[in-house]
Amino acid sequence: MADIQLKDLVKSYGPTEVLHHIEGDIRDGEFIVIVGPSGCGKSTLLRMVAGLESVTSGEIAIGGRRVNELEPSARDIAMVFQNYALYPHMSVRQNMAYGLKIRKLPKDEINRRVEEAAEILEIKQYLDRKPRQLSGGQRQRVAMGRAIVRDPQVFLFDEPLSNLDAKLRVQMRLEIRKLQQRLGVTSIYVTHDQVEAMTLGDRLMVLNGGYVEQFGTPIELYDRPASVFVAGFIGSPSMNFLPVEISTGHATLPGGGLLPVAAAHSGAATLGLRPEHLKEDENGPLAIEVDMLEQLGASTLIHGRLHGTGHSITASVPGHAHDGIGSIRRFSAAPELTHLFDTVSGKRLAV
């Protein structure tokens, strides 16, 4: 069990800086998810914590101890890889015991730990099989078992679920969460899937192009996204953005409608509206010309354009909606559920 500090962390490959001055305090026992689009540097950051990538400048501390120069094995961490990285020629038992064997633990202690981990993960009956005789989900469990037996201070997960099918992914997601809560080990989890991030993390670190866009709880990120990027990345379907003019508590929409917003500010801004916060309202200022309907069962997504302009917009309405393609439907949004961002920097504007 340990906290992790990232201090002014920089990673460069030659002259190219790929991670820019990352700061982060991770508390003991916390489950942190690093999320971002591919190429944002999230795996690099995780691998730096693991010791598989060198640190260009800055410091990583685990449990108050600087680990920049330590070998991965000396950092007291365990890592679960995307493609499991099980040793193909060893049985499940040997795979799980390998790290302990190298650490020269007594045989009965190794056996006890392996049995215990196998018990927790329900893979006892597979202990003597080879990895290739297991399904993807079972391999994933073995990979986690290998992490558990080490009894590390930190778990690192590198997109561990992306090779599984959708149903298994949801199931394993829950299991990982439960397991982490049960063991109480500080964990860092990398994913590009925002749903996975929202459901797993105590806190989320959103990375974009090597910068931390926002670091906070899932609800904070959803309710008060710090930038256009976070606003668009978190939440599904993603947020609508419209260029607006603000004056005296109203936003002038591109089509000419006036939407009340909570803003002290005036001038040009980017207005963010979540599809699920748009309410159908006969007198609403948002007139949407419907292009397409997506039936999700419990709700329907209405894809369209803001009437008279080219701005595409999506609204989510409860229940079914069968027709109305080409028609105009009007919506409004509560002022406290609108988001305003700077047009240039993309940062959230203070209310």
Binding site: N83, Y87, Y98, G99
Partner: protein, 283 residues
């Protein structure tokens, strides 16, 4: 592809049967020759069916002085020499190329690719090309007429290094990273992970290299002057030229038959691993 055309079936079988005859007939004649006495072997036409001198010939070849009237080493000693040489060459080649491939793939050191290409270039320098300088070196080291002299100059192998490099490149990086997190050092990783994963490739290469070593002719001929160091392949040629008598075909053919056994045994014993090693790409 399943086709049912009698003519194609006939033609393909014809080609196959001709191929089998072309390969098997000399072997059969060798065997037949080893079962007759010297007298019968010098009369035309050559016998096509086995006679009853097999055991006699075998005994004289293996434990007698081989050809009557010469002072060559008994064939069992030659077999032993050949075996020692072939084993030393094949295991030596495998050990050295495994290590050099390991260094080239997994370690970053200055001029890494330079070294790789230097190893690669030795493909152009088989022993026949560098025979004079190599002989000079071996002679100066006092290795003439020894197993070391027979095997060491043939041990460096670019082909095997290259092959193991390709094998190691197919091993996923995550395995290395995983091993690093598990606390395995480079040598531990090499022995615990890489070697077991290259098992089939090692076996395939062993088969090829064993036969390569067994079939060495020119090099042993050069550096062995002592009859007790003669290898079997070179001795067959010497037997043909022995003395001023007509060749003793029965003995020569028995020797040839004996010379065939170890390679055949190696191929048959390792056939399954051999095919796997050359065909499987998935790690």
């Amino acid at each position: 592809m399943v086709e049912n055309r009698p003519l194609t079936a006939f033609l393909t079988h014809l080609v196959l049967i001709l191929g089998v005859i072309a390969i098997a007939l000399p072997v059969w004649i060798t065997f037949v020759a080893s079962t007759h006495d010297a007298l019968r072997m010098n009369q035309a036409p050559l016998p096509l069916w086995p006679g009853d001198y097999f055991l006699v010939n075998m005994k004289q070849t293996l434990f007698g002085s081989g050809l009557s009237g010469t002072e060559s080493a008994p064939v069992w000693l030659m077999l032993l020499n050949s075996l020692a040489m072939a084993l030393m060459i094949s295991t030596g080649k495998i050990a050295i190329s495994l290590l050099s491939a390991f260094a080239i793939v997994y370690f970053k050191f200055p001029f890494r690719m330079g070294f790789f290409w230097m190893i690669f270039i030795t493909l152009m320098l088989p022993v026949e090309v560098r025979i004079l300088p190599t002989f000079e070196v071996v002679a100066n080291l006092g290795l003439l007429n020894s197993y070391w002299g027979l095997s060491i100059p043939l041990i460096a192998s670019a082909t095997a290094t290259f092959m193991f490099r390709q094998v190691f490149l197919t091993v996923p990086d995550e395995l290395l990273e995983s091993a690093r997190i598990d606390g395995a050092g480079p040598l531990r990783f090499f022995f615990d992970i890489l070697l077991p994963l290259s098992r089939t490739n090692i076996a395939a290469l062993f088969v090829i290299l064993f036969i390569f070593g067994w079939n060495q002719y020119l090099w042993p001929l050069l550096i062995t002057t002592d009859t007790s160091m003669t290898t079997i392949v070179m001795s067959i040629k010497q037997m043909l030229e022995a003395a001023e008598q007509s060749p003793q075909w029965n003995i020569i053919m028995t020797t040839a038959l004996l010379a065939m056994i170890p390679p055949v045994f190696v191929v048959i014993a390792m056939q399954k691993l051999f095919v796997q090693g050359l065909t499987e790409t998935d790690k």
